[in-house]
Every structure is written in C-alpha cells, then in structure tokens.
Subunit: 387 residues, 2 copies
C-alpha cells in the first residue's frame, strides 16, 4: 500500500495520541497492523508520536524496507529502539481490548520505565471509525463484488434442498466472486462462519451472539445461523453474508421466498424499506446515532410491529453498526448513543422484522456518510425475490 495513505492513517492515530500525551503506540493485533501497515505480519509496528513508524517483524521472513527490522521476541524491543536512535516512550499505549492479558503483561514488562496504557484499542478504533478516500474506494469495490454475488443467489436454489444446502451454494457464489471468507469481528466472544442464511422460525431462535438475528446453528459449538430444516413453501429466508473481499467488511442482507408469502410479510418488508428510507434521509454529519435508532423504533411502533422488530423473544438492541476491517466498528446506531455521524463513517443499516411461521424480512445495506448526507454502497434489488 502507498506510504502516503499509511502515513495519513498513522497521523490520525497520532492526533488522538497527542491529545492524551501518549508518545508511542505498540501495535501487534492483525486488524490494526492491516490499518497501519497495509498487511498482516507477525510482529510489532512501533508508532512514535514524532518520528516515522518502525516495523519489527518475526514472520514472514522476506519483508524488506528502510524502517523494517527483524525481531525474535518482544524483549528485544528496547534494544532495537535504541539501534533506531529512538528514545524509550514516556507514555506507551497498547491494544488493551484486544491483546490477551498475558501478552499485554509481557509487552508492558518490556518497558519498565514507561507508563503503559491500555487505550490503544479505543484510540485506533476511533481513528478507524472515519474512513479515508482509499478505504471508501475499497468499500465500493467490495460492494460491487458483493452485489455481483447476491445477484446470482437465486441460481443456487434447487427444489427440495435444505436451507443449509442453499446456504452452501450461496457461500460458493460469494467465494467465486472473490470473497476471502474470513469474517473479522471485534470481541473474542463473537464467532460466525461467513455470515448467516436464516429462514423460517430459525430466524427467531435466540443465539449467544450479538448479531441482529440469531439462528440455532448446526451444532452447540457454533450456535448461530443456518439450521438443517428443509425449504418450505410460504417461508422467507434472509441472506446476510459478510462481504470481505479486500479486508473491508461490507454488510448486506436480502430476502427470498419459497413461493408466495402471506401478505403481512410483504407489508413488514415494505415497513423495513420505509424505515431505511426515513433513517437514510435523516442521516448526515452532526446527527446523533440514537436519534436514528429512535426514528426507526417510532415508525415500527406506529405500525404495530415493534414486538417483531430486530428479533422476536431475544432482540438486537441496535439498527445499524459501523463497518470496516471488522464487522462491528464505531458508530453503533443504538439507544443512548450520543455519538454523531461524521463524514467518512461507513455503517450498515439493517431494519429487520421476524414473523413467526414465516421468517425474516427487511433489508440491510452499507452506507458512507458524505458531507451532505449518506450514500448507499450496496446497490442490489431490494424487493423479496421469489425462488
């Protein structure tokens, strides 16, 4: 990746460090290395406030460059910094919400004279919340590939197949369009394969994960998403696979039906489209996330559908979430979230309704916040498509 792009990203982090009088960051988690160095390595990016970043790398063993040095273990860091004529940091930040406790402790022990702060995750996520032009361009490319895959979804259907089998064909279509498959989530307790294909009453099944709809899953070791039920006439299914084509996670859901659905399903789907339109119409820089959430709740309550909105017995407490290198970035469109939209933020908006006996309806698209409002990235037919 071009150095000016990486420098811009690092400088966004540096600006936040300066506010906290932090004079260096030590970055070692994959997602933050992708952000600050452009790729995954096994090693450490040392980011001083007032000097160029250094990469200390264990693996791969074939990286070369002006500021790249080999390292075997983190205990070498002080000595390597001295070789680079860099002073030891006074206040050093580590990725405290991502690094395991023992690894954090080991790294902190390498800098006994420094004040070590765990705020690295928070600050870097704050920097990552507003995307650069290049990141938005990567989202556009990702969204285009995601759309190409979803347009082929109906070709995966064959009469008599199970939801699981249909899910597998749709996963394959995503992979053939270039989806990397790997699904990055912030938080060690959230696990999912490529995303979910939820159908019928399985969409109501509560799961341990904080995704928008649950699903029972195929095994208690991964209790979310698709189950093995047969496709049944009169049921809906929602395809919600993560669009990780170049590291950036687009998010998009579309609804399909086996034959004709009961009319209330179409009405509920239209309500979700209306919520999407109203929220997108309100959304612009300076608007708070909670006001967008409240608008959605107001509309579904007025329509008498609040009980079925964002889940049945167990509901998701958001209607949208920032996306980026991980599927759950800032901002979150949720109650009591005072955070305001800013230009360059990219988020998924996913008003969804679950109808017992039918299944999930609704919509999800990825949006970028512009200076004037928001722009939809995932351009793909939004009606319920009959298989």
């Amino acid at each position: 990746m071009l150095l000016p792009e990486l420098k811009m990203r690092r400088d966004k982090i540096r600006a936040l460090m300066a506010e906290q009088e932090i004079d260096a960051a030590l970055i070692t988690c994959n997602v933050n290395l992708i952000y600050t160095y452009g790729r995954v390595v096994s090693g450490y990016l040392y980011l001083p406030l007032n000097a160029p970043a250094r990469l200390f790398v264990k693996r791969p063993n074939n990286l070369q460059g002006e500021h790249i040095l080999p390292i075997r273990k983190p205990e070498q860091l002080p000595e390597l910094l001295a070789q680079c004529e860099l002073p030891l940091p006074k206040r050093l930040m580590l990725e405290g919400d991502e690094l395991p406790y023992s690894e954090y402790s080991r790294l902190a022990a390498c800098f006994p004279e420094s004040e070590v702060l765990p705020c690295g995750t928070r600050l870097i996520r704050q920097a990552r919340a507003t995307k650069t032009e290049l990141e938005i361009e990567m989202f556009r490319r990702s969204a285009a590939a995601h759309t190409r895959a979803y347009q082929q979804n109906p070709t995966g259907y064959r009469s008599g197949m199970t939801y699981r089998e249909l899910s597998i064909e749709i996963e394959r279509l995503m992979r053939l369009e270039g989806c990397l498959g790997y699904f990055r989530v912030f938080g060690q307790s959230m696990e999912i394969f490529m995303g979910s294909v939820l159908a019928g009453d399985n969409a109501c099944a509560p799961s341990p994960y904080d995704f928008a709809l649950g699903g029972e899953g195929m095994d208690p070791s991964l209790p979310g998403g698709v189950c093995n039920a047969p496709l049944q006439e009169g049921q809906s299914l929602m395809v919600d696979l993560g669009g990780n084509f170049y590291g950036y996670m687009c998010d998009m859901s579309r609804v399909y039906s086996i034959g004709r659905l009961p009319q209330p399903a179409y009405d509920a789907h239209q309500l979700c489209l209306d919520v999407q339109a109203a929220v997108a119409d309100m959304a612009k820089p300076g608007v708070s996330c909670e006001s967008l959430y409240n608008k959605a709740i107001e509309m579904v309550t007025a329509a008498g559908m609040a009980d079925h909105f964002m889940g049945a017995d167990q509901k998701a407490k958001f209607i949208g979430h920032g996306i980026g290198l991980e599927i759950n970035e800032a901002p979150v469109l949720a109650p009591r979230m005072k955070q305001e939209l800013e230009p360059g933020m990219v988020f998924a908006l996913e008003p969804k309704i679950v109808l017992p006996g039918v299944g999930p309806v609704g919509i999800e698209n990825s949006w970028v916040v512009t200076h004037e409002g928001v722009e939809k990235l995932t351009l793909c037919a939004e009606e319920i498509i009959t298989l």
Copy 2:
C-alpha cells in the same frame, strides 16, 4: 451433553486446580465453555473446587436448569454467588492467555478480596490435552465425515480452473458433508479461512502465520493459503482443510497432481509416508514429543531432503500438534519438547516437503494415543492422486 461427561471434564480441571490450591475458576471464553458446559453461551461458568458449577448466562435467554442463573454484567457475580450460598474464592483463576487485558481486569476487579491468577488458560488446556472417550468418539465421527468429503475432492476438478476455483469446490464438498467451516485457533494472531489448498510454488511463500506451510493468499489482509494461479501440468497441490464437524478439529492433508509429477516428487512423498510410519511406530505413552520430532529430522536428513522439509525459506518448527476444540492444542511435536505422550491425546502428524517448481507433497493424519501406541483416525488413501 450428558452431565456425567461434563462433570468428568470439570473434575479434570478441578484436579489441576487443587494442585495449585485454586478454589474456583471463572470460565467465559467460548472454547472453554464448549468444553465445560457443552455449548457456547454468552456468560460465565463458575467452577468451584468443592461444589457444583454454576452457569451465569447473558444470552441466549432461553436456557434453563438447576444451576443456571441470568446475569447482565460481571459486577453482579459476587452477589449471585452469595445467592447460591457459595463463598467468594480465595484464589480464583481466569483465562489469562485468552481474555483481553481489559476484560480480564474488569473480571478481576469484581473479586477485590481474592487472589486472581491468570493460569486458567494453561490449566484448562492441560485438562483438554487428554481427551475423554466421548471426545475421541466425536473425533471418529469427524474423521469419517472428513474422509467422505476428501474422497470426493477429485470431482471438484475441471480442466482450466485456477487453484482458487478448485479450493472453492473442495470447500463446498466439506460443507455438504457437514463441516461447520469455522476454524478455531489458539492465539489471537493466527487467522485462516477453512484451511488451505496450496499448489506449486505458492506452497513455498512465507506467511506470517505459524502453520505448517505458508502460501501467499489472495489479499494482504489475509496473507496465507490459496492464490489465484492457474492449475498447471506437472504441479502438485495439497488439500489441508480443517475438519470441524462437531466442534472438534480433525486435521488431514492429501496431495493431488495435475498430470504426472517429476519422479523426485513421488520419492519425496514416499519419504513423508515413511516418516509417518516410523513416527507412528515409535509413538506411545511415555515417549517424548522431541524424540518423535528428532526421528523425523534424522530420516529426512539421511535422505538429503532436510532443506525442503516443513517449508522452504521459512520452515515450520514442528512435525505435528495436538488437536481438539482448537487446531493447535497440546502436545506439540517439536524440538526441545520434553512432554510425553499420554493415552487419550489426539494429535496431527504432518511430515511435508515442498519441492520448488513442483509444489507440496507429504501427508497429514489425525491420531489418537492408546494405551499401547497410536491409532490413525483419518482413513483415506494416501498416495498422490492424479486429477
């Protein structure tokens, strides 16, 4: 899952706790919840040394049972323990190598009067290293499904396709046989989609991950595994997809060729089969892991193939690894590993050679340690199969 099985697993952990005079464990990482409770939940399993375990659960909201209580946040734990008439722990262990620093600190702060120890990960992994009869049975079922999928691998091949396209067809075959797809690895820096299909010189490409062979991958955000090169006559490819069918990760690699390979490739493949046979013949309870590693190195050195064994420029420093709920459990068959095999351990043995200009050859199977020796779980033809 049956309570006697769960109790047996919990008692294995309790025995290790007793040695360290630890009177309670607080378990919240998914993989350890699967082990001790039989499924993923969002919540906490509190495991006292001398009383039944309690599950404090946030999500899903439909779990019920004698020792199951709802919880909203960890700060409620002391109060909930009091309700259960359980004393606060004197020495409490947390999952220190898995919990993020900030989450560990938050949990520790809930027990200000207790001595909090980070050894939970290490002790639970030690307990998990020897499998119960039921776990071995789950491995057998997993291995059978893995084999059924691999036997169909050649049907995914069509002339003119790329390695990536072939990989996608093979992934689909795995999924159709029931593979959950999700690939669990211990350590936050190891990321991989379902496994790898490595072909030609891509198998030599160094990656940041500590897997047996590297691969350049499709994108710098996930630099490992398959690349987009076309299938070429005279090249080999190795299919190494994780066999997670019921939570337990079987590991198996098989080699295919496009047309006929040069004779040295068949010789190197046979050498790997010979290494496998020799190591399997030695392996039994009481034998050290390093002695198995050394045996392999001795054989490939005598054959003049040491430079190509377990990678080219960047080598893996092991010939096998324990498997279980994660792909990398104890024991590790590596230099200086004094650990001895014990009955019930399950490991993958993967002698592999990379030939520049040709690709990877070799073998990987999953093995269970019995009282007398080892038994192969993954029973599938081992020769190089021409596509």
